[in-house]
C-alpha cells in the first residue's frame, strides 16, 4: 500500500529570504499517528500549511492521499481535515450550525450533514449543548466542537496543530481517546504537532524532530529513547559562580563513565553509562572544585532528553516561550 503522505525535498523560502523548511523528506503510512516535534519557528506550521495547500512550496513535492498538493489542491483538501491551534469556530453560531457550515464547505448533502452532525455531536458529547451559541461554551467544549467539525467529511488524514494546548488534563485525555478511537475504528491517519512530550510518547507511532527547518530524526518513541544510551544525572548547584561551573564541566566530561555533559542554568546534565557508580565520581570532582550541590536526580531517558539531544533546547524554556506566543496570529 502506498504511503498516505509522501514528502520529497520539500522546501519553503519566504519572501524575506528566510528558509523555514529545508529539503525535508518523509512518509506517513495509512493508520499511523505521526508526531511532528520541534521548537517554535522550527518549521512545523510551515510544513503543515504546505501539506494543507495553504502555502505553496518553493520546491520539492508533497502528496496527500496520492494527490499532489500543488497540482490537485481540491482533491487534497477533500482528503484531509485541518484542526488548527486557533480554535477556528464561529462563536456567534451554535454548535450545530458550525457543523452544518463545515459540511457545506465540503459539499455534503443536507441529509448527510445532519446525520453526521448528530453522530459527531454524540462522539464529542455535545448533543445537549448543540443548539447553544458557541460563545457560551468552555474552552474544552470549543476544542471538541472544532475536532467534530474537522471530521465531518470523514477525512483520510487529520492534521492537528497542538491539539491539547491550554486544555485541562481531563480534556486532554478525552482528546487522546478520540484520536485512538478514530485510528482504530476508521483507520484514520493523524499528523500532529505538540509541545508535550508525554503526549507524543503516549499517542504517536512515529515521531519526527525538526529544528531550523531540517528533520533531525524520525523514529518510534521507543527506539528514540534507546538512542539516548544510559541514564541522565541532573545536578543543581547551590551557587551560581559561572567560573567554577565552567572549570568543573570539562573534568566531569573527562571521566570515563560519563558520555557527555551539558550545562543547564546553574546546574548540569550528564549522560552516564551507569548512574549508581557515576554519581560518587561526579560528586568527588564537584567537591574538589569547591562547588556545593543543592540537589541531584537520576533519570531514565524520556523523550525530553531525546528532544534536547536533537534540538539543544530544554523543554522548560520552550514551553515558557510557547505560552507567550501561541496566541499570536499566523497569516
Amino acid at each position: 500500500m502506498k504511503p498516505i503522505i509522501e514528502v520529497e525535498n520539500l522546501t519553503k523560502k519566504y519572501n524575506g529570504g528566510v528558509t523555514a523548511v529545508k529539503e525535508i523528506s518523509f512518509q506517513v503510512e495509512q493508520g499511523e499517528i505521526f508526531g511532528f516535534l520541534g521548537p517554535n519557528g522550527a518549521g512545523k506550521s510551515t510544513t503543515i500549511m504546505m501539506l494543507n495547500t495553504l502555502l505553496s512550496p518553493t520546491s520539492g513535492r508533497a502528496r496527500v492521499a496520492g494527490f499532489d498538493v500543488v497540482e490537485k489542491p481540491d482533491q487534497v483538501r477533500m482528503s484531509l481535515g485541518y484542526i488548527s491551534q486557533d480554535l477556528a469556530i464561529d462563536d456567534i453560531l451554535t454548535g450545530r450550525e458550525n457543523l452544518y457550515l463545515q459540511a457545506g464547505f465540503y459539499h455534503l448533502s443536507r441529509k448527510k450533514a445532519s446525520e453526521r452532525s448528530k453522530e459527531l455531536l454524540d462522539l464529542v458529547a455535545l448533543t445537549e449543548r448543540a443548539d447553544d451559541q458557541v460563545e457560551t461554551y468552555s474552552g474544552g467544549m470549543r476544542k471538541r466542537l472544532d475536532i467534530a467539525a474537522g471530521l465531518i467529511h470523514r477525512p483520510k488524514v487529520l492534521f492537528l496543530d497542538e491539539p491539547t494546548l491550554g486544555l485541562d488534563i481531563q480534556t486532554r485525555h478525552q482528546i487522546w481517546d478520540y484520536i485512538n478511537y478514530l485510528r482504530k475504528e476508521m483507520n484514520m491517519t493523524f499528523f500532529l504537532t505538540t509541545h508535550y512530550m508525554d503526549e507524543a510518547d503516549a499517542l504517536c507511532n512515529r515521531i519526527a524532530i525538526i529544528d531550523k527547518g531540517i528533520i533531525k530524526v524520525i523514529d518510534s518513541p521507543a527506539s528514540l529513547k534507546n538512542q539516548v544510551r544510559g541514564e541522565v544525572v541532573c545536578i543543581q548547584f547551590s551557587e551560581t559562580s559561572e567560573d567554577k561551573i565552567a572549570d568543573a564541566l570539562p573534568i566531569i566530561s573527562s571521566l570515563s563513565i560519563v558520555e557527555n555533559v551539558k550545562q543547564r542554568d546553574s546546574g548540569c546534565m550528564a549522560v552516564v553509562r551507569d548512574g549508581d557508580t557515576a554519581i560518587p565520581e561526579i560528586f568527588r570532582v564537584i567537591h574538589s572544585k569547591g562547588l556545593k550541590i543543592n540537589s541531584v536526580t537520576l533519570k531514565k531517558p524520556s523523550l525530553d532528553e531525546v528532544y534536547m539531544a536533537f534540538t539543544g533546547k530544554t523543554l522548560g524554556n520552550e514551553r515558557e516561550s510557547n505560552g507567550n506566543t501561541h496566541r499570536t496570529v499566523r497569516t
Binding site: G31, L54, R77, D86, L93, L101, F105, K156, E185, V329
Partner: protein, 279 residues
C-alpha cells in the same frame, strides 16, 4: 481493515462527482454564515432601524427650511426636503455598511476562520463574493425598512411599489460593489485598527463629493467634475428619480447600467486581490 476502508473509498468517489460546479453552493454557505451572524446580533439590527430614523427626522426637519425658499426648492427639484433626503439616507446606509464588509475578512483572518475555509475545497472566489452577497442582502433589507419609515413620514414614491423595490435593489447592487472595494483593500490588513482609518478616509469624500445630500446645482464646478466620476452619483440618480419623478427611463437606465458594471468589475478585482493575498 478492508471492510473499514471501503466506505471511505465510496465517499471519495462521491466527493469527486460533486466537485464540479460548486461555486454557487460555496457562495451560498459563505453568505449564509454572514447572514446568520448579522441576524443574531441584536444590536446591529436595532441600529439599522434607529439610525435612518434619526437621520430622516433630524435632517428632514432641520433642512425643511430650504424648500420653503422657492429658489432652494427649484435647486433640489422637490417640494419637501425629505423627498430629496430619503434616497440620500438610503445610499448613505449602503455606502457605510458596504464599506464595513472588509472588517469581517480581517476578523476571519485573525481568529483563524479564513484558514479553515481555505483548507476546505471551496472555490476561492466564493469567499469574497459570498461576503459581498451577504452585505448586499443586508442592505436591501435595511433600505426597504428605511423606505417604510419614509412612507410613514409622508414621503411619496412616484414610481409605486415596483419603483420602491427597484430602489432597494439598486442600493443592494451598489453596496455589493462597495463591499468589493472594501475587501480589495482589507486583504492587505492584519488588524482592524489598521483598516479602519483607510475605510473612513474612503467613505467621507465619496459621500460628500456626490449629489447624495447636496444638489448638484449647488456645487462649485470642481466638485461637479469629481461628482461626475463618483460611482455613488450613478447609483443615487436612478433612486432619486424613482422617488421624485417616477419612471423617467432616460434618467434611470444609464445609472443602473453603470452601477451593475461597477458591481461586476468589483467581483473581478476583489477576487483577484483576494487570490493574490493568499498565494
Amino acid at each position: 481493515m478492508e471492510i473499514r476502508t471501503a466506505p471511505f473509498a465510496h465517499d471519495a468517489k462521491e466527493n469527486e462527482s460533486t466537485m464540479k460546479l460548486t461555486l454557487p453552493s460555496d457562495i451560498y454557505y459563505v453568505c449564509w454564515r454572514d447572514m446568520k451572524r448579522f441576524l443574531s446580533q441584536k444590536s446591529r439590527i436595532l441600529m439599522t432601524l434607529v439610525q435612518p430614523l434619526i437621520w430622516l427626522v433630524l435632517m428632514g426637519n432641520m433642512m425643511s427650511g430650504m424648500t420653503n425658499n422657492p429658489y432652494g426648492a427649484r435647486m433640489l427639484g422637490v417640494k419637501n426636503y425629505i423627498d430629496f433626503m430619503t434616497p440620500g439616507i438610503m445610499i448613505m446606509t449602503a455606502l457605510f455598511s458596504g464599506t464595513f464588509c472588509g472588517f469581517s475578512l480581517v476578523w476571519d483572518r485573525r481568529f483563524g476562520f479564513l484558514n479553515k475555509m481555505l483548507a476546505a475545497p471551496i472555490s476561492r472566489m466564493a469567499i469574497p463574493v459570498g461576503k459581498m452577497t451577504a452585505t448586499s442582502l443586508q442592505i436591501t433589507l435595511q433600505v426597504i425598512i428605511i423606505g417604510i419609515i419614509a412612507l410613514v413620514m409622508g414621503v411619496t414614491f412616484s414610481s409605486g411599489v415596483f419603483g420602491f423595490l427597484l430602489i432597494a435593489i439598486i442600493a443592494g447592487i451598489f453596496s455589493f460593489a462597495m463591499a468589493g472595494v472594501s475587501l480589495s483593500i482589507a486583504v492587505f490588513f492584519k488588524t482592524l485598527e489598521g483598516l479602519h482609518p483607510i475605510l473612513n478616509f474612503l467613505t467621507m469624500p465619496l459621500m460628500f463629493m456626490s449629489n447624495a445630500i447636496f444638489p448638484k446645482a449647488a456645487m462649485p464646478n470642481w466638485m461637479k467634475i469629481i461628482s461626475d466620476w463618483n460611482p455613488l452619483t450613478y447609483a443615487i440618480t436612478p433612486m432619486r428619480t424613482l422617488v421624485v419623478e417616477g419612471w423617467v427611463l432616460e434618467k434611470i437606465i444609464p445609472g443602473l447600467v453603470i452601477t451593475i458594471g461597477f458591481a461586476f468589475v468589483m467581483v473581478l478585482i476583489s477576487t483577484w486581490q483576494f487570490n493574490r493575498s493568499i498565494a
